[in-house]
């Protein structure tokens, strides 16, 4: 079991390292992630949402729906914990 785990882990690691070859360097301002989609958040955020903290504006407005999902996840987990560990009627 341990051996299988070790092999699986080293295999995954090797693949991951192989994949880094084509990745943009750390902090490269010209990486695709910095050029597509996100510039609008930075440039228009104040104008469109009146929120100077861009993370907040994206979290609560542009991608607010993710945040609703996130809240639901907590809610789910809460209910799940109640269901699992609370002792009822004993």
């Amino acid at each position: 079991m341990k051996l299988i785990a070790l092999i699986a882990v080293s295999l995954t690691g090797a693949i991951l390292i192989y994949g880094t070859a084509d990745m943009p360097d750390w902090g490269d301002p010209g990486s695709p992630a910095s050029l597509h989609v996100s510039p609008r958040y930075i440039e228009k955020s104040v104008e469109e949402t009146q929120v100077p903290n861009i993370v907040t504006s994206v979290l609560a407005d542009y991608r607010g729906y993710d945040t609703l999902g996130e809240t639901t996840v907590i809610f789910t987990a809460g209910i799940a914990c109640i269901l699992l560990i609370r002792r009822f009627g004993r």
Partner: protein, 510 residues
């Protein structure tokens, strides 16, 4: 652009009702069940409305918060997800109806929480289906998974440990998926599926895209329990409470299959998985192995529910096989099988639920004489079993037929042989149960000690020395019968379904 409120209603109605159910549970327990049924019905109606919209006007877009797509989150509903959403919501409504008696007997104090998680599970699954954003999909995936872990854990004796294992695998799967999303993001800068599908064709040679593809696939394969990543499934679904396994088993895996089809066909250019990387080849082989492995392991089981778990693994194999053929007939078979398998598996798991609810056995050796005691349930069982075996005119035959055609079209004779052989294996599996139930006299007549009838754990409260098994209450029986009728009618209507919906769900150039 069509603006209709239904896409968001599918999700929001059950989401809100999940909160309300908990509150209602504090005030008056009897309110919870109607609330759940109401919200699930609303989901079914909205998915019907959307399917109607999609059929008459084409793809429906819904911008959440009004932000245009690559910046905001968008729901995109085309033929494929309208179809899957309807399957998910309709089956969960039926299972929801049947859950009442089982939940209220087995978890008397906790029913509100169970219902709440039940609805959340459905919300999560529906959210996965309708979203057009790869990260949003992850969030809903986790809602569904967490609800699933909790629901499974309240089952029988081994359930918490089985659920824990499921959680470890599920988290690895979800994290791999998230990693894949991150890799996609790093090379494209986008999370929107439609946007990604525009950007990705130009990046096919990038190693990062390859990584992203691999991790997305592995992650989804864990969630849909594709061989050899299925290890969590048999335990989890065997120990889960009956209504939960009836909900989670058919739907979670099918939604996983949907995500796989979505990623392969829409997000990546379809040629990517067929030509650029050998994913289609791999899917074929894994699917083929899954089919054989599932059937053969199912043969070795004595517990009916666990056997169904292995059958489910085989059924997932069919879907993977169909995708792996990479042609129109194969994909049609896979998508049709999402519907068919959802129906038959839900029906079979629910039948196990009905039998155990009445204190009946789960060991197949003790199924003797069951048809006399539960004639309608067993009739439904025969119909669903024949469908799994692939006997026309039940629906299971038609998806297999498309899969066989797909195999013939792509000249994969080996896999055609696997498909045909698996029908025979399935026949052995199910006919031995049918034989037991129909041709062998019941235990009473053989004078076997009734105490020996006690199933493996659980439900001790009604299992005294005397057990009288008869038909389950109507709330359980009616959904079973509806599903059995569905198995028959979907078979005959499969032509309509394929030419009306599935044909458009597959890219035109296939």
């Amino acid at each position: 652009m069509i603006s209709s409120p239904f896409p968001v209603l599918i999700i929001v109605v059950p989401l809100i009702s999940a909160f309300l159910i908990v509150i209602a549970g504090l005030i008056k327990k009897s309110l919870c069940y109607p609330l759940m049924i109401l919200s699930l019905s609303a989901s079914v109606l909205s998915s019907l409305a959307i399917l109607n919209d999609v059929l008459s006007h084409g793809t429906v877009h819904y911008r959440l918060g009004g932000w245009p797509p690559p910046w905001g989150i968008e729901y995109v509903i085309d033929h494929l997800n309208a179809f899957v959403a309807l399957i998910v919501s309709a089956i969960s409504l039926l299972i929801g109806i049947s859950a009442k008696r089982m939940v209220e007997r087995d978890f008397p104090g906790k029913s509100a929480y169970v219902y709440c998680l039940f609805v959340l599970q459905v919300t999560g699954l529906l959210g996965i289906v309708v979203t057009g954003d790869v990260f949003n999909l992850y969030v809903f995936l986790e809602i569904a998974s967490i609800a699933g872990y909790a629901l499974i854990a309240i089952g029988e004796d081994g359930a918490p440990f089985a659920s824990f294992n499921y959680m470890i695998y599920g988290t690895i799967g979800a994290c791999f998926y998230l990693l894949g999303v991150g890799y996609l993001y790093i090379v494209t800068g986008s999370l929107n599926m439609a946007d990604l599908s525009k950007l990705l064709p130009g990046l096919q040679s990038s190693k990062v895209v390859l990584m992203a593809f691999a991790f997305l696939m592995v992650g989804i394969a864990v969630k849909m329990a594709l061989f050899p990543l299925h290890v969590w499934l048999p335990d989890a679904y065997t120990y889960a409470p009956s209504p939960v396994s009836a909900l989670v088993a058919p739907l979670t895996t099918k939604v996983g299959a949907y995500v796989m089809i979505r990623i392969l066909l829409t997000v990546f250019p379809p040629s990517f998985f067929i030509e650029t990387v050998p994913a289609a080849l791999l899917l074929r082989w894994l699917g083929g192995f899954a089919v054989l492995f599932g059937c053969i392991f199912a043969l070795a089981q004595t517990d009916f529910k666990r056997m169904l778990g292995y059958v489910l693994i085989a059924e997932i194999g069919y879907i993977a096989l169909g995708i792996g053929f990479g042609n129109r007939n194969g994909l049609t078979g896979s998508i049709l099988h999402i519907l068919n398998d959802g129906l038959m598996m839900a029906s079979l798991f629910l039948i196990v639920g009905a039998i155990t609810y009445k204190g009946g056995p789960r060991k197949m050796a003790r199924f003797t004489g069951l048809h006399g005691k539960m004639p309608l349930t067993m009739a439904a069982f025969v119909v669903s079993a024949l469908s799994v075996v692939g006997i026309p005119p039940t629906c299971g035959f038609f998806s297999k037929w498309y899969l066989v055609l797909g195999g013939i079209d792509s000249k994969q004779w080996l896999f055609v042989a696997v498909l045909l052989a698996s029908s025979l294996l399935n026949a052995i599996l199910f006919f031995r149960v049918i034989e037991k139930a129909y041709f062998e006299p019941s235990m009473d007549e053989q004078g076997v000690d009734r105490k020996a009838l006690n199933p493996t754990g659980g439900q001790q409260n009604i299992l005294s020395n005397k057990v009288k098994i008869d038909e389950a209450p109507l709330t359980i029986l009616i959904p079973i019968l509806i599903m059995a009728a569905g198995v028959l009618s979907v078979g005959l209507l499969s032509g309509r379904i394929v030419s009306g919906i599935i044909r458009f769900a597959i890219p035109a150039h296939f």
